[in-house]
Symmetry: C2
């Protein structure tokens, strides 16, 4: 255990190749899903031979893992942006919802491959765990917002409500990303209506 195959000293060319492979993998995973995305196809999409692919990644799962890490890091940034405002109680509910949703929606729109990788049930179990910390952090932040704005909700119920909100939001993301233009704007409005309709009664409840 603890054995490390020391990674070769990468040249600039190699670093570029790695990013190219990850870009190609994101595209192929998004189009085909995890299982159907063959390593040969990823190599072809990256414009290199299968052998070259394995110069940089030890196996298919390592590619997905690296891609997941890249996504998770960007997603983390979007989450931090969504919750960076210190004032959880001041803003009216609609504005609060705007602040939380807009950055995360923007991320999902800009990275269609993200959902394709993480939302698919055919990917290896280990991959989901890469997103776990992010998911847990998100849950905690939503709970914190609930605790501040809806103090009348007891703790056990609060955790459940946070999960429900996250689930709803994630379910609506495909509806948003798969539409375009005005229809997309309208869908974003609907997502916010849904969350507002769920949150408003919680905020108004007495302790």
């Amino acid at each position: 255990m603890g054995e490390q195959v020391r990674a070769p000293r990468r040249q600039a060319r190699g670093e570029r190749r790695i990013q190219e492979i990850l870009d190609a993998a994101a595209k192929v995973f998004a189009e085909a899903g995890y299982e159907a995305a063959t390593t040969n196809r990823i190599a072809a999409a990256a414009g290199i031979s299968p052998g070259s692919l394995y110069q940089f990644f030890s196996n298919k799962e390592a590619i997905a893992q690296a891609l997941a890490d890249r996504f998770v890091e960007q997603m983390g940034r979007a989450h931090r942006e969504a919750f960076e405002s210190g004032d959880l109680v001041g803003p009216l509910l609609p504005e609060m919802i705007d602040r939380m949703l807009d950055p995360i929606l923007a991320f999902n729109i800009a990275n269609p491959g993200f959902k394709a990788l993480f939302a698919r049930p055919d990917m290896p179990a280990g991959l989901a765990s890469a997103a776990r910390p992010i998911q847990t952090a998100l849950l905690g932040r939503v709970e914190a917002v609930l605790a501040a704005r809806a103090p009348g909700v007891p703790e056990g119920e609060r955790a459940r409500s946070a999960r429900v909100m996250i689930q709803i939001f994630q379910a609506m993301v495909p509806l948003v990303t798969s539409s375009r233009g005005d229809e997309r704007e309208a869908m974003i409005t609907e997502v916010k209506k849904v969350l507002r309709g769920y949150l408003e009664p919680l905020e108004q409840r007495r302790a």
Copy 2:
């Protein structure tokens, strides 16, 4: 074209086998997903040899297709039950929601294999089309309810709202089926809260 391989005259034993195979397939698909569900494993789960499997189904997709048809038929029954009440306007909103959701939730709880088959992106495209008529019918029924109860909502928005409601409901189903006992009951209550929070403002809008 139009060629038909005439199906052999089934014996009672054969009819029984077909149902056993479908039961086994539902279990294996639910556990492993479409791709990872090997025909040999389905055969083993049904307690027969791979060769016997192909006595009744010409290929793996035909198994999934037959299973899908069986599910779709049962699902159709649940939908009809959910919407059979002629009175769309009389009942208060919470009762209306109970009537619509309970049968469909009950179906999903009783048939965990259903979601596993239809919600997975790794299944052949043709399969999804089996559920299409059911989905379209459901959309139409929800739209009809909206038209009756929320006449203030213009038509284009009504279609969008119906889609949103269905999407939300389907997203919450896993939260319900994956929990047990009191937690499950609580989750069902939450699903209904969400839909009520979304519907109530629509109903109260002026034409």
